[in-house]
Symmetry: C3
Subunit: 672 residues, 3 copies
């Protein structure tokens, strides 16, 4: 194909500014290595319409006339007087019709030159009769049968940098692809906030004062904006000359780049666990997956909801992750309040993720979605979430495609697996609850944001202390805490203080207060807080024990176990720290210490009992399964680890359940 | 009377621009048909002051001198050099005194021309000696005894359009009446947002940069603004030349127009119920009243508070109304958040509107009123509100003149009537609870906003299913749902899912979640949600029944009724779905199905019992009344329909109440 | 020292504008009486560098050359062409180096005149070769060995007014000291909001469009701004020429002035109690301290948290203080919403300040501190807070240095004293609970803000009525209420209405509703509200009594006391007004009225009993102490006054505690 030789044109020899590669196949939109889109100009197509016959002026000429197609991105500067362009009728008015040559250039066909009616939407061929100094374009309709089609691309060399590199193009025209994050109408131009994987920039498009430009563009669209980069209020702004919504492959390519960039940013750092532990090593790959999902959510501005067990291990794990996420959110977001909108940590009062919790989280998320445009959240359960009781909530989350991640060290139900994206649990790799959720979450926090490691290095020791971990890792974590300047007593006191305060926090996350107790954020109150809270906790334990211990009934079972039971609701102060579980534990510990033999302690309330065992091989979850079958009508339920757990039942059959439970204990072998 | 012949005036013959009708009686402010206020100029009064003697210049002339009174709305353009005007001393300064000729025109009397002291507030006659190019007016005091008084009205033809028609007057001067909705001081002019029945517009009044113009005007005032309509930031704005607070008849006339317009807009559409039902036909007139009140509230931006029974029927009814109101609020308001500020739906946990609910609603409303200027709300009770137990709350609402509307299908107490504006209840027109609240509220929603009919046409079937309606209307509503593509099973599943989720929502309205369950707003989660929630509900019923049924004590009464009782609190899981009421119902249904005879089932807790009857003619509300007298000290209370209800009593007399209740059942005749 | 005689200077004789006192020791910064800082100009130092030898031009001259030091506050107007100044290299650029002469004046040394490299931070001597019309300064480096040093202070007479007096300096340059409250970057200048003890003003500093000026300055810094006072948007603004952070003594002096001003403003008015009462007189000095702390907090914009007993006396006291504080907050703050941010009143459900309450208050305060920059609050406990049970919460508040103030009329524990800043309690000055918290708080409110006295004068009578005060002061307060137009019945009805509504408010403060009931804010609803609420309260009492009275067991004790006990939980409606305490009281009153003899009434629940005594000398707090020792394992606890109190215990030992309590009553002497 050749350039048009248009010497007979009434407007004289056009001053073509074709580039050398006009013979190419016109890979508009592709980027070369420098990030500059190859902006070659008129490119002949292989269009079947091409014909050797003369042009529309009826002149005898060797060359075929050319119909130019003005690509989007071209401006009026790319339009040549005298040439013929393909256009679309935009609007008809009394005095003529407006015909657009591309998304940003249009001109008037005066009614005097219209011989046949022009209809809106109709494709027409028009000759540019005049380009006025003010940019107005005058057109006349032409009728061409045989012509070559050539594509006109912008002759202005338009770089297409990523947003973060716009500074290098100040004063020049660029073509930037981005997602429209926000559209704001001012009394002057319309402002489009664009976002790509590298940053955000504002593009100002002016239709008329206070009139919405590009009304077809909506928030969320992927667009290409062409315009000059200019400083504005201390920032750079694109003065948009054209703004085109990308569709199909172009949009897909952008999405893919976004996705790749997200994946890259979401990639956790290459780390090893803080301590040498086979269990942690085994958990690490799945933990990296969780970290990646969290990092991705932060970069996508997807809210993260963390629900954790309301005890020191759960809080410690939750706070470690919170520190990591909040700092990352702050790095990624300009809004200093983003950490409050995009992250939400709350204790679950039940030892599982109840439908009530899911309902609260879900209705909040749907409201934020509808009202503020937030995506639905990622849900992370900590020290919770691995049992069958969690499945109802997971089913509903799944109806909304809300992804669920679990980090837990409770004995897991197989059935949970299919409902969650990842489930990091020592039991699943041959470990047990001695590697606590708080330990794993501290490792998770490092993978999410290694910058917070210094703040949280002592957290695993606190969590392990709270859950009486006897794992090897516990010793190493404690060693780390000692190196950070905490004594063993400090670690114990922090753990007690957290447990005690957690009782009073109820459904409150206590963001800053808990940070100060756990000493992950510097505050002069830390030492006094921990000292006073842990002392109050000690006193509270003494108070409850002084009422409970005298009420304990002791009985020697045939297998040699000392079976101890007491009414924990009738013989403690109700609604007071420590609650039935911790009180039963404290009573049990006192008996064990005093007796040094196999002991099972049962603190019972109207419709539950808390169980602690020592020196005997019981398996509480298994006993519960058996009682469910054996005690009809008692609605037996519950959970726990081997020798630590809770059994629930209907109040009316309490005595029968307790007796059946006692029989189970009596059948169990002692530990050697 | 004639024009003044003022040839001796130092400023020469004034170029009078009097209109032809200066002899009229000056009906300023009246509108002609075209909405243009007749803006005739100088109009002679029949003032007694008129005298044949010469003017103030002492010249012999046939005409009496004229004292002009410059009406508000006139500008400096209406002032003639050389003429004498009535004025009021505004301020005295070192170099003279300022005299105002009307609300917007004033001038300076230089101290050199003051021979007698002028006092602020004093009425004076002044000749206009000069009108400077910049609009400054110079005055000299004059002393006239005999003169004609003529009124000068603005010579500019001033249209007085409604706000929505201002576009037709761009560039012209208008006089617009409106209520001042907001006053905002900018660094330039003061901006008054005016509102009439057709829209809002901003009037900009400039006193001095950053200085409050018309400080006497406060938000809420009805004013007339005169000024030019000019485009501003893409909207029209009035550049105010004068702004006068309307009082007396003028203000009353405006208020009346507002009221009429409101009434007109509040008028519900002419519709018929979706199904053919005598009860609905009978209820329709009062239902229209409720719809009108709601529509009016929306147009007045009065908040609407809906409180409904926390079951599927109540939620369904509440959501139908919610959909209608929210869409109407969106139509009427620019603020996309208005639907969150102006509408509040919440479940009532009790089967009546408790003082706790009223207290929460009232304190919220008072706070919004004080803090954000919201009017006090309209209160609508759905599937609730028709019993004596609601009256305490109504009394307090009434102390604040908060209007209460009730749509309920529970057996009503007569005493409620005097406390509510309207009470739509099938019992009041010879129907019964088979026409459920959700059905009626769906009809109400259509009257509030017919645009939402498509979304909610299946809602009555869901509500009727939930309340086991056997009304004729139920079949028709079900037919409608089938036509919308829902199977009977779908309808049942939605109803179960709603009931189940409602248990977990507690005091949360669950706006979007409930929309998706009920399928009134499209969401892909709907099918999964309903499937999973209804399945979970079924399983939960099975769990509770498996504990409860073995605990049922059965007894054959003398009248042949099988009297079944069980401790619903001791033989179910507490605080778990289904609660005592639904569990008792499910147990009852199972017994009835198994026995096919007259059965009364009583599920009792410590201080209440739930009752379900079948095949026997008991009337629970009546039994309660009898027990109140017969069992002293038991504080018997409660409510319900004939064979479905709850009895409350003090815990210490439970057995006596249950026995007395059994006797009542034993006395009841069987149904044939 | 003498002025420089610089005739050989190439730039000619400088036009010195030295003041007469250039021989002084340069007390820059000191203020004379008129508040104008003595702005003497070039002041010779006694610098050791001074040398008799010739200047840098090597000319023979009698005078030593002078090196000028341009003080901060000087502008380019103070710079003389031809003179030599001490400077610091600011930045080096391709074409030279920028040297600053003081914090706001700098100039360019062109590279052509640089013979030796200049390093950033280096001290240099430069001659001013040119001051351009646009203020640009050209410098050349010079090398001087022997010279006198003279200080150049601004020759512009710069007043240093307080902010409220800036109006007197419009158009002039001032030097204002203030704390930077807020920094805001506009697209033009950077705006610093300055605050001193008299007001706030904005200083606009322009570095470049949209570029942050003085980036070293942060919010909270104390600075001196020098610049012109100009009108801007109707306010005054300082167009900053220099802005220097004050440190050391200067900052300390400012802080001291702020402190003094705060103390002065915090000083309560000189008043006497509304009634003549020895107890109030004795309490007055400490009450003034509390008032001063509150007033200071308001002026510092420190939030105030009030927690009060959830009964009429507590609410009345809380509301009196609330009225006083809110009006003061409104006076001090421009933000009309400040009263919602800076004041928070809430009832405590327990009769003490629980850890739950502290936790909620503290986490809220920490969040406001972190998120919104609020200082931690002042905590005021009303009708609460004087017992050992409050100490755990106080300990935690103290860890954050949150000051606690207590106004209570419950029998105080000595141990509380060390934890609170002030504790106003009639028991501490020989009074008792008859002078109620509401009375004392009304006096406190007057000291906080005497303007509200008219609104609250009747409050003490209401509070006293609620707590059945028989103090002498009560009669006087009632007299005051009567004078305000309330009858005794009105007072009683308001007190009942408050108590009743408080039951329904739960954790809600009910700000406006309570104001209307208590009639401290005009509202037409008041009369109806009180009438209906008090009637409902009466009916509710009758309902509970009708169930409870038949259940009372009466027993004649050996000491002649009629000992009455009943199960208040099993024989009343639970969770219904009146609760166990008030119901027991009402039952007791009925018995006393009927019997007219020594009566002790005990209303017991599962783990508590409420006690009321009449005609017998029991001391409930003391009995509790004894039972704690005597009934092991019962965890006895509680509190109260002599004959009014609550005993708590574990449910399992109820009967033993009640019997032990009965024995204590039997040992008590009757009152004569």
């Amino acid at each position: 194909m050749t350039d048009s030789d248009d010497e007979g044109s009434s407007t004289g020899e056009p001053d073509y500014h074709l580039t050398e590669d006009f013979g190419s196949t016109g890979e508009a939109g592709e980027e070369d290595d420098s990030g500059t889109r190859s902006a070659s100009a008129r490119t002949a197509s292989t269009d079947a319409e091409i014909d050797r016959e003369g042009g529309e002026h009826g002149e005898s000429t060797e060359s075929t006339p050319v119909l130019y197609e003005l690509q989007d991105g071209c401006t009026v500067d790319d339009v040549e007087e005298g040439e013929v362009y393909r256009g679309t009728v935009n609007a008809t008015v009394e005095y003529g019709a407006f015909v657009s040559l591309n998304s940003s250039v249009s001109g008037l066909v005066h009614e005097s030159s219209i011989t046949e009616p022009m209809e809106v939407g109709e494709d027409v061929k028009v000759r540019v009769s005049d380009v006025k100094a003010d940019g107005d374009v005058e057109l006349v309709p032409v009728y061409m049968h045989d012509y070559d089609v050539e594509t006109v691309e912008s002759t202005v060399e338009v770089a297409s940098p990523e947003i973060e590199d716009l500074g290098e193009h100040e004063g020049s025209r660029v073509a930037v692809e981005g997602r429209v994050k926000k559209i704001r109408q001012t009394s002057g131009p319309t402002l489009f906030t664009l976002e790509d994987t590298t940053g955000t920039v504002e593009a100002a498009a002016f239709e008329a004062a206070g009139v919405r430009a590009y009304p077809e563009v909506t928030e969320g669209d992927v667009v290409e904006v062409t315009g000059e980069v200019e400083p504005h209020d201390g920032d750079l702004q694109i003065e948009a000359r054209s703004l085109v919504v990308l569709e199909g492959d172009d949009a897909a390519a952008f999405e893919e780049r976004v996705d790749e960039a997200l994946l890259e940013r979401a990639e956790p750092p290459e780390l090893q666990p803080l301590v040498d532990s086979t269990v942690l090593q085994e958990l690490y790959p799945e933990l990296r997956e969780v970290a990646q999902a969290i990092r991705r959510a932060v970069h996508e501005e997807r809210p993260i909801v963390v629900r954790h067990h309301a005890d020191a291990d759960g809080i410690g794990g939750g706070v470690a992750v919170e520190r990591a996420v909040l700092e990352l959110v702050d790095d990624v977001n300009d809004d200093p309040d983003a950490g409050y909108h995009l992250f939400n940590r709350m204790p679950s009062k039940a030892p599982f993720y109840e439908m009530e919790d899911l309902t609260r989280d879900l209705t909040g998320a749907l409201r934020d979605h509808e009202r503020h445009g937030h995506p639905l959240p990622l849900l992370l359960l900590i020290d919770n979430g691995s049992t069958e009781e969690d499945i109802p909530a997971y089913e509903i989350a799944d109806a909304y495609d809300i992804p669920v991640y679990v980090v837990d060290h409770h004995s897991p139900d197989e059935a949970v697996e299919e409902h969650v994206e990842a489930h990091v649990n020592p039991y699943r790799v041959g470990g047990d609850y001695a590697v606590t959720s708080g330990m794993i979450c501290t490792e998770l926090a490092r993978l999410v944001n290694p910058d917070v490691e210094d703040e949280i290095r002592h957290v695993p020791a606190v969590c392990g202390n709270a859950d009486r971990s006897e794992a090897d890792a516990m010793e190493d974590y404690l060693e780390l805490a000692l190196r950070e300047g905490y004594s063993s007593d400090d670690v114990e006191a922090i753990s007690k203080a957290l447990d005690y305060e957690s009782f009073h926090l109820k459904y409150n996350d206590g963001r800053h207060l808990v940070d100060h107790i756990l000493d992950v954020v510097d505050n002069t109150a830390h030492v006094d807080l921990v000292d006073r809270l842990s002392t109050q906790a000690d006193e509270a334990f003494e108070r409850q024990k002084s009422a409970a211990v005298p009420a304990v009934e002791r009985k020697e079972l045939d297998n040699g176990v000392l079976f101890c039971r007491f009414d924990v609701e009738n013989h403690t102060q109700k609604f007071t720290f420590p609650g039935p579980g911790k009180t039963t534990g404290a009573v049990h510990d006192e008996i064990v210490e005093e007796q040094d033999r196999a002991v099972v302690t049962v603190g019972y309330g109207p419709d539950f009992c808390v169980v602690r065992g020592h020196g005997v091989e019981i398996d509480i979850p298994e006993i519960i399964s058996e009682l469910q079958v054996e005690v009809k009508g008692a609605a037996v339920d519950g959970g726990g680890h081997l020798v630590v757990g809770t059994v629930k039942f209907v109040q009316g059959l309490r005595e029968r359940v307790l007796e059946a439970f006692e029989s189970k204990v009596e059948e169990a072998p002692l530990k050697k």
